[in-house]
Symmetry: D2
Subunit: 309 residues, 4 copies
């Protein structure tokens, strides 16, 4: 056993910056605090490694959870190279970019009463059902402008991003040429709009052709780094692409899931070593924490960090 590092007790100072707090947490080096600091450090490592291609997977409904601008910042600052997410995130983001809002609610409210008021609940966030009308109007005027071709989901989202409002994930990714993958696009509010559209129109989006591009991105990377906010399909889809590559050299996972139930979302990153999805010598951290707490803190430490050149 190599020489052990002592746990430096975390010391709080008034007006401390988030970066200073993380520095102190890093020196404690244990439990969630230690892992949070390590996550920020690994993200810095990825950003400064000019050979590293970063794959960011964001599950859940993080936009209605207040994480929208952090995601926007990461994309605008090109602090990821590939973005894999759920239809839910793209839908809620589009809703806000169209001028609608999400609201602070409570999980205790009677859901029947909410239904009578046309309010949809996402745990403690509320959304007026009228947003669907806004979405419908947007898609009604937008989808007809798309080229008539067989799309991959990534291509479709690229074209949709071109026509999406500024300050939306899709438009930001379009402008910054960041590929957006959404393997279960149909499973979302956007999916429902596309269903609406195909009642009278033809829309050809392939369920599998995206694999060519995501696997190519994994295969051609000199090194790769992964960041998983939540697990779900975004994590697994990136992991799977890495299996057809030399495996990731860096990895950060933030979930509320634990490994003991055996699911992919909670699986420790080191499990990926057995599959060849992760490098045995890679730098990894698994942080079990509400992402709305962990992500802002980590991002506060890397916001201004430029990519290695």
């Amino acid at each position: 056993m190599k020489k052990l590092k002592p746990i430096e007790q975390i010391k709080i100072r008034e007006k401390m910056s988030v970066a200073e707090l993380l520095e102190s947490m890093k020196n404690s080096g244990v439990l969630g605090a230690g892992r949070l600091a390590k996550a920020a450090e690994i993200y810095r490592n990825m950003l400064s490694d000019k050979e590293c291609r970063i794959f960011l997977g964001v599950a859940g409904a993080m936009v209605s959870g207040g994480m929208k601008l952090i995601i926007h910042d990461i994309l605008e600052n090109k602090q990821t190279d590939v973005f894999v997410t759920t239809g839910a995130n793209l839908t809620h983001d589009l809703i806000e970019s169209l001028g609608y809002r999400h609201y602070q609610g409570t999980p205790k409210t009677d859901d029947k009463k909410l239904h009578d008021k046309n309010i949809d609940r996402i745990y403690d966030a509320f959304m007026h059902n009228e947003v669907y009308q806004g979405l419908e109007n947007f898609f009604k005027k937008t989808l007809h402008k798309l080229p008539n071709k067989e799309f991959t989901v990534r291509e479709f989202l690229f074209e949709l991003g071109k026509l999406s409002p500024e300050k939306s994930i899709l438009n930001i990714c379009y402008k910054n040429n960041i590929p957006v993958f959404c393997p279960a696009l149909a499973d979302s509010g956007i999916g429902l709009q596309l269903w609406n559209y195909i009642q009278k129109n033809k829309l050809n989006i392939s369920a599998i052709n995206d694999l060519n591009e995501i696997i190519d991105l994994a295969w051609t990377a000199k090194k790769s780094g992964v960041i998983y906010i939540g697990g779900g399909v975004p994590k697994n889809y990136i992991q799977q692409a890495l299996q057809i590559s030399k495996g990731a050299s860096y990895g950060i996972q933030i979930t509320s899931d634990v490994p003991e139930f055996g699911g992919s979302s909670g699986a420790e990153l080191r499990e990926g070593i057995s599959w060849g999805k992760m490098q045995p010598e890679g730098k990894f951290v698994n942080l079990i924490c509400d992402a709305t707490i962990a992500l802002p803190i980590i991002y506060a430490a890397v916001k201004g960090v430029k990519r290695g050149k």
Copy 2:
């Protein structure tokens, strides 16, 4: 407040049957035991309600977790009408139907050593990497036999099921005419085989056209009941279809996720009332439990129950 029922203490007898245990748990009526019993009861209710269309969503990698034969039984006994699942479940099931096995491992094993032995780890289950060769052989000889058309995922899985080994989920569903939906099919070992195939062949599977059928199944149901084993895309995809209907009358959810982190997987079923996905007067239960414990117990209570006529 209506008259309260006392908690009857659970009483164990030697050689007790699972059904008797559930009866005792039902009379306790609280915590996990009470909810487990309620889940079995609601499944019975669904089965005996001849107007009820049952939607079963199974996330995760349940086949490598020992749940394969229970899923087979449910499908063969037509104890669900619609099956929505992950590519992982279909892949691991296909692997076993091709003659391969999963093995009892441990989560502590060094993943580097497993990798060197070509063993893939799924928490405490191990799988020899050679299964991929078996999958490849199967798909190599099978995919060329498929009709040349634009498939929905459901149609593709139906055709694949026709050519799949007996005692596989896909073949059982084919024979019993149970539609199988897999919204993120690309995100799985089957997905990788399809990627392999499209390197030299054309395969047209739509990412969105399945919505027509799943929504139609929700829309045309006199009543509907949902069973979610794990959350993820299978749950959300069914929930979304129900939003375009009158909402489910029965619901069972078994997850290791909790509601407090705001994700769809852990969201209580009553949240769906606000969205119109669930009937305010429906019978619902949310059970937080390892599905490999809860599902066998529940199924032991309903195995022989025939559908209402």
Copy 3:
């Protein structure tokens, strides 16, 4: 790596007994099902090992959770040698033995309304506040009968058990000569009654002298086995006594806690090996499951098992 055992898929048969279900779960050998079966097996091992002294630690408020009769059965059948628990369990058990009941409630009920109706809530169990009057009456007539001496908590509970109603934990342990430890007795409804009593009377119960007896029980055991239902003080108190011994040879832990947050309740039993609380070659299982589900199932498999002779 030794030869791997395949995962046998769990097969449900109609009218299956709990023991048969556990047998099938044992053959699956993975995840919660595998661990549940292993827990039952290890309990059988402990019972049949005539050199094994069994320490049972039960945290939480398991009596209001429907586990009372299982605990009674374990004690009456001498399927443990030592019982360590919380004041909450002793209090709720005493309440029922005095003729009061707990009731099936819901966690959603407005707590202000419950307060106005003099109902106390324990998640989804309700209790009428009047039980405290019953407790007070019991202690008023009982405490004066106790010998005037310096008690350990164990001795006090023994004397109290002598005067407690039949079919109470304390009385059963008194009759069966099973020592009951309750390190935080003051932290309970019984504690409040004692506080009431000492307003006018003297009662000398030592906070530390029990350590002599529990450590002696650990020290003099040829072998020891531990069963932890929940973590908390009962687990830690037994673990600590084992540290002054050769370490436990068998261990079962059932908690809803996970190890990743670093607390004693969720800590895996193998952690105890580093401390000398557990034998490196011992048989241990950590099961993460609602105890109201796991305990009845495990107990159904060992109910009739006699101690080794």
Copy 4:
């Protein structure tokens, strides 16, 4: 339903202070981030309310988790009036005050190897077993100096604090006249030292007499506020005292436990309203988060805040 507040998306700026981050999280108002900000706000409210008596309950082994100096700061700055904790925290703190350290380890290390090296593991923290020799020396020279009387645990810890090293919790509390309660003192390393001492000496510490003082502190408070870091006995012991009072007006709970399993540790604070432990109109927040992440952040926002006068 009153007018809803929109969720303001969290915005990260470079070199942001922790306080500024919390301000942004407060404006998001949902999920963990919203609750974390609310916790900091409620702590500020408690500190500025001159009628409020603050009860701080700290469970677990937080000192080996890096939280020691934050606890010291809270006590030195009199940001709590009453301190209730576990023997584990007092023991690990005393160990460090005697010059020993805890070390950064990993949960994956083989526990048998650690045992052979005399290293004790607390998840990912390591401790040399030699600390017990240091503890023994300290108690050997200290306990004989204590007055010969019947102590409450609180009185005993006060006297012990007088003789404890500077920069220890007990000494800080002694100097600042903050009562320290430790209902399960025997269940700890300090407990083991006391057991060692009573092999040849008499030490009379009451298991129940502390209730007089803690209940008096609750009863005589004009208002009370509670802060629970972890649940366990510290939480329940404070809650119980509040039951014999008008109930707390402020409450903060940070746990890794969830309410759904029915235990006291994870129970939402509002449950206390039914019992009369909490005021129906009180300000409460339940935050499910690793305390080593949440506590430093919250404390960064209140470090310099003086008590209301």
